[in-house]
Subunit: 289 residues, 2 copies
């Protein structure tokens, strides 16, 4: 069977890299062949699944340095009928790509603002006097590197391979433990939660009925009372008015478990809207490659 997997493009970025890991793993563990479908935004990758254009999407959910990927959270909330199937944790290794003969001749370094921020210490130590230019399209920059040997870009090892460009320095991120958690998302089916699946993580989001003192705490106490660990809490604006929030929560439990089912039932008495994004396990790309 052919499986189409939507991801944020273009080729060479970390979302494509995560999708490749996932596809290789799928091919190893089952007979499925998969094809990658790059989309110009995270929102469009997720919409492709809802519209049936792709069977799954792989989207970044959280980075260990930058925190939650708000576009993923906001789109998961907006779109119905999406289900997280798996979390994929991938180390992020930034490399310096340039046709310069040595670091000394580099005058400008281009990259996405987040990548520049994540390599700030290295840049200050090794390239203290270069001009840093934030850019949204690293691809455009990579095409320019071949004609400008005084320029460099920070990107992934895979981008260097794809564009056949030399890597001058690898692993230049200041935090070596930099990694991103991706979600593999598929369309919702009516069979969800009918069988006990015993997965380790459940992601959900809710808005509260009233912005009363303690309303959020009461909602969270439900899980604390069951000794269920909440591994993440994130607030996002409802976009209605300043100070009104949605809450995104990850708990370390399976939503098909009967105790968790009744906890979610109790939670729904405090919430205005409650969405369960699914129960899933997490794998590291280090373990599956």
């Amino acid at each position: 069977m052919n499986l189409s997997i939507a991801h944020l493009g273009p080729s060479g970025n970390y979302s494509e890299q995560a999708a490749l890991f996932y596809v290789n793993w799928l091919t190893k563990t089952c007979e499925n062949q998969a094809i990658l479908c790059p989309y110009p935004s995270i929102a469009q990758s997720l919409k492709a699944v809802v519209q049936g254009k792709a069977m799954q999407a792989i989207v970044p959910a959280e980075n260990s340095i930058e925190g939650s990927v708000t576009m993923t959270m906001d789109t998961m909330w907006q779109l119905d009928s999406l289900r997280i199937e798996l979390a994929l944790i991938m180390p992020i290794v930034h490399v310096l790509i340039s046709c310069a003969s040595s670091l000394d001749t580099i005058q400008t370094v281009y990259s996405h603002p987040q990548a520049l921020a994540q390599c700030q210490g290295w840049l200050e130590s090794f390239l203290p006097s270069v001009q840093l230019i934030p850019t949204n399209s690293t691809t455009e920059v990579l095409e320019r590197l071949e004609i400008d040997s005084c320029a460099a870009a920070i990107s992934s090892q895979r981008a260097a391979q794809l564009y056949n460009l030399p890597i001058l320095a690898a692993g230049i991120n200041d935090h070596p433990d930099n990694c991103t958690r991706f979600w593999v998302v598929r369309g919702n089916t009516s069979q969800d939660f009918q069988f006990v699946s015993n997965k380790k993580h459940t992601s959900l989001a809710f808005s509260l009925r009233a912005n009363k003192p303690g309303a959020l705490v009461k909602a969270l106490e439900i899980f604390a009372a069951l000794n269920v660990n909440m591994s993440r809490i994130e607030s996002r604006p409802t976009k209605r008015s300043l100070g009104e929030y949605l809450f995104f929560i990850d708990i370390e439990a399976d939503a098909s478990n009967q105790i968790i089912q009744s906890a979610l039932q109790e939670l729904s008495t405090y919430t205005e809207v409650l969405k369960i994004f699914g129960s899933y396990d997490a794998v590291s790309t280090r373990d599956i490659s």
Copy 2:
């Protein structure tokens, strides 16, 4: 007395606009004259205060659509001896700037990715076939508009005035209630919290001693038990490892209040590091202009 106020540059952006509101208000309410000092980043604006180069900084804390400004949160956590003095709430009104004679002749629209996202609906309705180009420097684009009458930029009304460029459409953001909360921040003094100040809001952040089930809930219950409303909760990665968080919390109370003082004392038994960023009131630019 001359007061120097650091803010994110360049001229024409919303941080400068907020700083101008604040300065005008200061001039009206007291004898202080103030000068604005633009800095290339939010982090550098805050560092300028710590280093004594500026007396105050005005930084964006939260937008009603985009949520928390993570750079502000992360820098407030990293730097010691900063104190929030005031919250300033300012409506964000995006305008379309172009030398085109009408909307029909526009082929490309440049802006910061967040501004493009915030005007997505308007752009789809009124300029469905233009090319949208995300850019980090709107200033650079504004300089280009005069020679390219097929191009447009989304920016602030003030940017149009500064560059003497025509506004083709105003208030084009999809959410009319789009507003940003800025913080006016100054250096810490030893006198803080010695006097009861009766301010409405207190911002604080903490890391927890242990990532145990219910640890966060226990910390939050302290305020809930006192009937103190928590108006915001935000988690940020500790940047040590994926799944370890700091929590940023706003409560509707003054930290100099004796009951809150003992609540904070109790909170500190659960926290590894606890930072109080100050107690302050909030004003709207609509009320002070």
